[in-house]
Symmetry: C2
Subunit: 160 residues, 2 copies
């Protein structure tokens, strides 16, 4: 544990306290993972990533933590793929791309400040999500013609 790590943990704790969330070990580690690894993990991936570090960890705790974070706006939920919610702790405006072949999700900068038109002015908008689906450069190279019709989400079997 070097000084940098120490500093980062302090920042994370401060961030949580600012949102009136008690910075328990699990919460700090989940948020740290999300900030260190911008890979939009599912709940299960978070569990797998942290279970070595926190031997008594349960999946329910991951779900509880994420629910707390969602309620307080610490993270946002990415539903680009049905049946596999992913989580993102980065608050700057950005969109999400999913490759229909490899399933990888990446960020991109959206061109427009907002897509919401004036016609929605009776509404209160809390969140805006832009999702793109397609093929990433790697998968294009490795043979996809870009017209695969049979891509469907595959439920990700739990890894452990």
């Amino acid at each position: 544990m070097d000084g940098n790590t120490d500093n980062k943990e302090k920042e994370i704790k401060a961030l949580l306290k600012g949102k009136k969330i008690r910075p328990s070990i699990i919460r700090v580690k989940v948020l740290k993972y999300l900030l260190d690894n911008r890979n939009h993990p599912t709940a299960d991936r978070l569990f797998s990533a942290l279970e070595n570090d926190i031997p008594t960890l349960s999946r329910t705790s991951i779900y509880n933590t994420l629910k707390t974070f969602l309620d307080e706006g610490v993270v946002s939920e990415i539903t680009i793929e049905d049946g596999n919610s992913r989580y993102d702790a980065f608050t700057g405006k950005h969109g999400h791309f999913i490759c229909e072949k490899c399933g990888g999700v990446s960020d991109f900068d959206v061109k427009c400040a907002t897509c919401a038109p004036e016609s929605l002015n009776g509404y209160k908008i809390n969140q805006e999500h832009v999702y793109l689906r397609g093929l990433c450069p790697n998968c294009i190279k490795s043979g996809g013609d870009g017209n695969e019709k049979n891509f469907r989400k595959k439920r990700c079997k739990k890894s452990s």
Copy 2:
């Protein structure tokens, strides 16, 4: 069955044939429902809507039909809410708004032609989805202050 209905069915059959999909009764009725009711139904809602009309209908057939339609681009899947895919047969560009209180989904016209930036030019984009979350005018009127923190998707218990 008036002449209009007849005409519409003929159009739907032609549309399916154009996509090399045999226009079975179930397929025609599912697509007709989606075109007549722009309410972004879930698979289960489609089943409920059609089971009286097609007494032997099974949920699997709804899923099969939707998969066929998705593969051929007849419908698109809306994943604005995790765990409840919705389906849309309208192909014109539009976004989807979900009310965090009543769960209703509605269309809106997106302001921008595309949100994808030039930085994605090594990618092949097949679909673009814009999702907004918030409160609809009705729910604002009926008391929401617009800051409800505890909205979470509720799995929709099957209706029958």
